[in-house]
Amino acid sequence: MRYLVKFRYYPGDPLQEIKEADLRDIADQWGLQIAFAEVRGDVKSGREATLDKDLEAITQSVITIEGDEEPSLRVALREIISRYRSPRTCYALWGSNPAGQAIAAEIIEEQDGWW
């Protein structure tokens, strides 16, 4: 089974700066592929207009995790959440595949639930 999880963090969401090197360490340790992308929205005079914009187009940091092994995916997701906390919005897993989304939702609840 192939698992694909996307975590979309918006400005202020991660508890610390997301560093690609840290993600790479997690990926290497657990035999996963991790990619990191920074999306820059339309910021004018320090403010971004996000009304009527596609959710994927506004400023955000996107962590993409891929792998074939569920246990290692679970551990990696736990590490990411304990470092940055889970993403905040109900659209934050957009782009994940159904298998990955199900696991991610479970880990988010387990580690970052009920708050």
């Binding site: 918006y10 202020g12 304990s82 919005t89």
Partner: protein, 283 residues
């Protein structure tokens, strides 16, 4: 310098009103002009979650007296809220105004005012969430709460029988007026736990390592010092509290407003799917 008293009690001349009036007298003695509104005399309908204030970036579309209440707050320099705590929390009018405060919260029309809070209550141990309500309302609007009092008094209008309680209320009013005059908005109330709202409530997070102020979302850790517990908040965590202009702005900009496009895009699909529930067990 204008100080506005807000009463969150239905009872006329009850303890909330008496204590708030005593506080206003204290503010008056410091040179303030004072005004009072009995919140429950006004029609304040519930927020209906239509998000018009958010998606149209304008005022609340509900036509009722909440607008006048927020306008009076915006026109004052200081706000003293007197509200009873009957069962653990402040009365319902405060919650109603928390939700209806969503537009002024975005517009920052009340931000920067000086605030004081007086909560009369009857029984020790039945007030745990009283300041959560008052702080959520005032801090979300950007009011700088400089003091908050729990006043132990039971029967209606009994407060004047307790001179110390009256003195505390009067002093709070004076402090609010002085803070307006000097521009020093430092918190002067009883030291609590949260560095922002100064309440003593903490939520233990699922990781069983982190604690968080449920109102301000400031996260910290517990440390043992002998038999005592110490709550440690890093400077970085304090800066992340949810009520700063920047953090609220981020919340509106990145968590809420972007949902509009998806909401509009899925209109027909939502309507179709909701059809199953329309008429089930009544309209």
């Amino acid at each position: 310098m204008k100080v506005l008293g807000l009463i969150g009690s239905v009872r006329r001349l009850g303890n909330s009103e008496i204590l708030t009036k005593e506080a206003l007298m204290g503010a008056e003695a410091e040179g303030a002009t004072v005004e009072i509104l009995r919140l429950t005399d006004y029609e304040v309908r519930p927020c209906r979650g239509c998000a018009a204030c958010l998606f149209r970036e304008g005022d609340c579309v509900i036509e009722d007296d909440a607008h006048a209440i927020f306008a009076a707050m915006a026109a004052s320099n200081g706000i003293i809220l007197g509200v009873p705590c009957y069962i653990l929390e402040a009365t319902a009018i405060v919650k109603q105004l928390i939700d209806r405060g969503f537009a002024p919260m975005q517009q920052n029309t009340v931000r920067g005012k000086v605030g004081g809070v007086i909560v009369p209550y009857a029984t020790r141990g039945w007030t745990q969430n009283a300041f959560q309500q008052t702080n959520t309302w005032l801090l979300s609007l950007g009011v700088k709460v400089i003091d908050q009092l729990l006043i132990h008094v039971q029967g209606t209008s009994e407060a004047p029988l307790f001179p110390q309680a009256m003195e505390r209320a009067r002093t709070l009013g004076k402090k609010v007026a002085q803070a307006i005059k000097t521009g020093d908005h430092t918190y002067q109330g009883e030291a609590g736990i949260c560095p922002i709202c100064h309440d003593r409530n903490l939520r233990v997070l699922q990781d069983m390592e982190t604690v968080e102020c449920p109102v301000c979302a400031v996260r910290g850790v517990l440390q043992a010092e002998g038999k005592k517990i110490k709550v440690v908040f890093s400077d970085e965590a304090v800066k992340r509290h949810r009520w700063s202009v920047e953090n609220l702005q981020r919340h509106f900009t990145y968590h809420l407003k972007p949902s509009k496009a998806f909401f509009m895009k899925t209109k027909e699909e939502r309507k179709k799917m909701a059809g199953k529930y329309k008429g089930y067990l009544g309209e």
